[in-house]
C-alpha cells in the first residue's frame, strides 16, 4: 500500500495555503511577478459522505476505517449515523408460470445506507483524505460525497452597480 501511495499521482503536489486570517481576507495576496502566484487553497466547511451497500457489516467496518483515518489526519469528525431500516426494493412475481394467482414469490434488493460527516477541511486535506478513503473502498459499496465549499462574494457583486 505504501508503494501504491508513493506512486499516487497528485493533481497538485502541495497547494500552498494562503494564510487566510481575518486581517487579510479582504486584500488579495500580492505576489511578485517572477514567482508563479500560489493558488489559494479552497476551504470546505463540510464534507458529507453517503455510503450505500448490500452488507451493513461492511459499511460499518468501512466507517470505522474512515473515522480512524480522519483521526490520524486531524480532521474534525461530525455525526456518523445510519437509518435503522434498509431500503427494500421488492418485486412480486407469480410462483407458477402463469396460473395460481394466489401463490407468489417475492424478491427484494436491499440497500443499506450510512452517513458520515466531516467538518472544516482545506482543499488539499480534502483531496488527500478523499483519495485515500476512495482508494480503499471495498467492493459492493457505493460512495457519494457532498462537498460544501466556502467562497467569497464575487468581486463584481460586492458593490451595487454605479450607473445602469
Amino acid at each position: 500500500m505504501l508503494q501504491v501511495l508513493k506512486t499516487l499521482r497528485w493533481a497538485q503536489p502541495v497547494r500552498a495555503l494562503s494564510s487566510v486570517t481575518t486581517s487579510n481576507v479582504a486584500t488579495n495576496v500580492t505576489t511578485t511577478a517572477a514567482v508563479p502566484a500560489p493558488e489559494p487553497d479552497t476551504l470546505f466547511s463540510k464534507l458529507e459522505i453517503e455510503l450505500r451497500g448490500i452488507d451493513p457489516a461492511v459499511l460499518k467496518s468501512y466507517t470505522w476505517f474512515a473515522n480512524t483515518a480522519a483521526d490520524h489526519l486531524g480532521i474534525e469528525k461530525g455525526k456518523c449515523w445510519s437509518p435503522r431500516k434498509a431500503h427494500h426494493e421488492r418485486m412480486t412475481l407469480l410462483k407458477s408460470v402463469h396460473i395460481y394467482k394466489k401463490h407468489r414469490v417475492q424478491y427484494e434488493v436491499r440497500t443499506h445506507f450510512r452517513y458520515m460527516n466531516f467538518h472544516k477541511l482545506t482543499g488539499s486535506t480534502l483531496d488527500t483524505f478523499l483519495e485515500y478513503i476512495e482508494r480503499n473502498l471495498p467492493e459492493g459499496v457505493a460512495l457519494q460525497v457532498s462537498k460544501t465549499e466556502l467562497q467569497q462574494v464575487p468581486e463584481h457583486l460586492r458593490q451595487p452597480p454605479e450607473q445602469v
Partner: protein, 166 residues
Amino acid sequence: MNFLKKLAPHIALAESQICKSADLHTSAVCCRVQSGRYRITTKRNRPLTYEMANPPHFIAHRKSWNSWNTSTLLDSQRPAQTAVEDLFIRKFITGTWHALTCSEIIIKRQHNTIRIASIIRQAISPRKMYFLIGYTEELLSYWMQCPVTLELQTVADKKDVVFKYI
C-alpha cells in the same frame, strides 16, 4: 429442374427465416421454486458444497453473494450490463478451467477493476495453471476493457469443498 428454379426463392426465404429464429438463443426455464435447490438422493451420496447446501433464500443470512458490485443498489447505473458481463465471465472461466473449478465463481468489482476469486482443483501442473491465469486475465481484461485479477485458491481434491452429502 424448372420446378427447382421456381422453388429457389421460397427456399431462400425459409432459410432466412430459420436464420432469424436462430438469432434468439433460449435456454430451459429455471423454475423459480426449484432453482438453486437440490433433491435428496436415495443413496444419500450427492455431494454438496456449502454454497449448494443453502438455498437462495439464505443469501445474506447463511451465505453471501457471488457477485459484489454496486449496480444493484438504489439509483445506480448499468445493472443489466453488469449481470450479463458476470454471466459471461462465469461461463468463460468454467470453460477455460475445464473441470477444475470446485466452487462458484466470485466476481468482485472495485472501482473499474474486476477481481475474480474461485477454488481450483490441483489437477494440472503449476506451469499450466500460471498459463491459464495469464490467459484468462489477458482475454477478460481485453473484453471487459478493465483490469482483471484472478485470485485463486487450490485444493488437492474435489472432496475438500464438499460440505455434506444428501
